[in-house]
């Protein structure tokens, strides 16, 4: 009893251990990291889920967030190439420079899709030469990413390694359960064609078995000209496309025009965690994405 009291007093007097400071480039990565780190980490995201991650401002205020970061988690594959490098340079933080111990590029942890195998140039649009970076809507990739993040947290903060390991096991168990639930919900959409705005759903389509009938962008990053939208009207009619999936940060007019001429329905989907009030964390974001797709295409 006395020993317990003394120990409790000692622990109460002890200064609380400083949480690991983690900064992520997107809210999805922040949510996953918070889930894996619990109270041993303090996580901030540089961008908002309502923003297109290609076009975040290199606002110097964000460099201040990076200054004391123990770990910077980024997507990679040049998703953030337009804004992250100047922020990292301005941060005065050597620990988060590329290839440093405090830098984790999660694309290195997954099997990447759409990596060009031949010569590429900009005539093919604003493509990502390393492969498609929009993989956070695929639970299979998120499982691999969680393992990588957890391992890096344990490497940087070995005293909490057991805690990270336990939280990872719990995360993977919940992910497996959710995946079973989502796949049951999506069983009816397998093989159904959809139109997307950008190639943001390549991994999601691969997981769900949805078929890509076309994209509003004729080439990545290029706006849809009327002739391309007219072509897609024919595609929608010929293939029986029921949904045009568009992230909320894109201009909806091309999708609405296509819908008006073809009878397909525009489905506004969250681009990331935080893009919709219901997408509070990664699980609820994926829940929302799956529900909206299943509701329109699977009904």
């Amino acid at each position: 009893m006395i020993r317990t009291l003394v120990m409790l007093c000692a622990l109460a007097l002890a200064a609380p251990a400083a949480a690991l400071e983690v900064v992520t480039t997107t809210e999805g990565l922040a949510s996953i990291t918070r889930d894996l780190g619990g109270d041993a980490v303090h996580v901030e995201a540089l961008s908002r889920g309502s923003q297109d991650p290609h076009f975040v401002d290199a606002n110097p205020v964000l460099a201040v967030k990076l200054r004391r970061a123990d770990l910077l988690v980024d997507v990679g594959l040049e998703l953030e190439v337009g804004w992250l490098p100047p922020l990292v340079n301005q941060s005065r933080n050597p620990s988060i420079q590329p290839n440093a111990k405090g830098r984790l590029t999660v694309a290195n942890a997954i099997h990447v899709m759409e990596a060009p195998t031949g010569p590429v140039d900009r005539s093919m649009g604003d493509l990502h030469p390393g492969g498609n970076p929009h993989f956070l809507s695929d639970p299979r990739r998120v499982d691999a990413i969680a393992v990588a993040i957890s391992a890096r947290l344990a490497q940087l903060d070995p005293k909490n390694a057991a805690k990270y390991e336990a939280r990872l096991a719990d995360f993977r168990r919940r992910l497996a359960d959710a995946r079973t639930r989502w796949e049951a919900k999506l069983a009816a959409v397998r093989g159904k064609p959809v139109i997307t705005h950008h190639r943001t759903l390549t991994y999601f389509l691969d997981w769900t078995g949805l078929k890509r009938a076309g994209e509003l962008e004729p080439k990545p990053g290029t706006p849809p000209p009327p002739s391309h939208v007219a072509d897609l009207v024919g595609v929608v009619r010929a293939e029986g496309v029921r949904a045009i999936l568009v992230e909320s940060y894109y201009d909806l007019r091309p999708a609405e025009t296509l819908a008006a001429h073809s009878g397909a329905k525009v489905v506004v989907i969250p681009g990331d965690v935080g893009a919709d009030p219901a997408a509070k964390d990664w699980f609820s974001y994926e829940d929302l994405l799956v529900s909206r797709v299943a509701q329109v295409i699977g009904s």
Binding site: M7, A14, F55, N59, P60, V61, G82, P86, R92, Y250
Partner: protein, 417 residues
């Protein structure tokens, strides 16, 4: 500290017999079992600093800084497990990012403007509509080693080839410092350190061409900047550079010192405000040149990708004292502009300017009001259409216009805000 020791001692005190380790090997003792990778014991910052000091003393080196350089780069490149003959891309992987940005256009400036308020590029011969080639900027950018990166920009223009900027940046300095060395645009105001392809308008504000120079102000030297430990972005930058003389007919360079403070802070989720103050002193041999300026930038991000509304303005003044071919005393100029980009592809802008006249005794200054429309065919191609109404010394009016195009190829590094 004592509390932790006490807790640790209690925790370590014998209580129940420990269960046998689940990792013990049945063969333990008979042969060496695979050992788990040793994990470094957790260290307090104080212990770590003491250890570093001890090691530094033992090695005969100077004491380490409080912020250790990133020893760490532990490269983890993606590699294939087995590759016959090594990577065929070995040399390519070490190439710097190479880019080229070309700027050209079709411009017109009225004869009276050309006579009373001469223009620099991108404007050509007054009174004629002429194609103009401004510049091709070749960029080479890469990490040098674990301690620095380098950025080189070479300009190919109508007057030949020049190194616009070529500098190394040291990223691993202690105390939130950063340093650059080489040749670079001086840290004075907002537009001067920027490359022309990042400007909203097609030309440099008149006040900057008159008071800093047709190509801005900059040169060989070094600078040191410090990021203050506050919750917003607060940076102080000091540089010492060799700059072009204030007298346009002068040759050689003049030593100059620059001091700049810039502050950026967010107002809500969507708005960022930046304010800056700059000062400089140059020894003109003979005479002195003083420069002072203030700048403001407010950007409101709109809902769609790439959409924003931005206000920007600068005011600056120059004093020449005893400089050959220069007017003694203070001269001043300013500009203020607003740009609306409703979506990723196009936008509009308006700019008002005041600049000192180039002619002594002309009285007052040159005023210009410009309108801008720009359209980005893609992220790598931009068209700008700009027209300006000039109010010139003597109360006469002039006109100028430019249709400018710009293209970018290769991997060009992102620019600061």
């Amino acid at each position: 500290m004592y509390a932790w020791l006490l807790a640790a001692a209690i925790a370590a005190a014998p209580t129940d017999p420990s269960p046998p380790s689940t990792q013990s090997s049945p063969q333990a003792g008979s042969q060496s079992a695979p050992q788990p990778t040793p994990q470094p014991a957790p260290q307090s910052p104080e212990d770590r600093a003491k250890l570093e000091r001890d090691i530094a003393r033992e090695l005969g080196a100077s004491p380490p800084s409080t912020q250790a350089p990133s020893a760490a780069p532990t490269p983890t490149p993606s590699v294939q497990a087995d590759t016959t003959g090594g990577s065929p891309y070995a040399r390519l992987l070490l190439m710097p990012d190479i880019s080229a940005i070309g700027r050209a256009g079709l411009s017109y400036v009225s004869p009276i403007t050309g006579q009373r308020s001469p223009r620099d590029l991108p404007f050509g011969e007054p009174g004629r509509v002429r194609p103009v080639f401004e510049e091709l900027e070749l960029g080479l950018q890469a990490v040098v080693d674990p301690y620095a990166r380098a950025d080189v920009f070479i300009g190919f223009g109508n007057d030949g080839v020049s190194v616009e900027e070529a500098y190394a940046t040291w990223l691993n300095l202690p105390y939130d410092l950063q340093a650059r060395g080489g040749k670079f645009f001086a840290p004075f105001g907002r537009v001067n350190p920027q490359h022309p392809h990042t400007w909203e308008f097609a030309d440099r504000p008149l006040a900057l061409t008159r008071l800093l120079g047709p190509d801005g102000i900059g040169g060989a030297g070094f600078d040191v900047s410090w990021l203050a430990p506050v919750s917003w972005f607060s940076e102080v930058r000091v540089s010492y550079q060799s700059v072009a003389p204030a007298d346009p007919s002068g040759t050689g360079t003049r030593p100059a010192g620059f001091l700049r403070s810039s502050q950026f802070f967010d107002v809500g989720e969507r708005t960022t405000v930046g304010v800056g103050a700059s000062a400089a002193l140059a020894d003109e041999e003979p005479g002195l040149r003083n420069l002072v300026g203030g700048d403001v930038y407010v950007k409101r991000r709109l809902a769609l990708t790439g959409a924003y509304l931005a206000f920007q303005g600068e005011a600056l003044a120059r004093r020449l004292a005893g400089v050959a071919n220069g007017p003694d005393g203070w001269q001043w100029g300013m500009y203020a502009q607003a740009v609306l980009r409703p979506d990723l592809r196009h936008g509009y802008g308006v700019r008002f300017e005041r600049a000192p006249s180039v002619f002594e005794g002309a009285g007052g200054g040159d005023f210009r009001t410009s309108g801008l429309f720009f359209y980005d065919l893609s992220e790598f191609q931009r068209l700008r259409f700009q027209a300006g109404w000039d109010r010139l010394p003597g109360g006469v009016n002039g006109f100028e216009a430019i249709a400018a195009m710009e293209f970018s190829i290769g991997a060009h590094g992102a620019h600061p805000f």
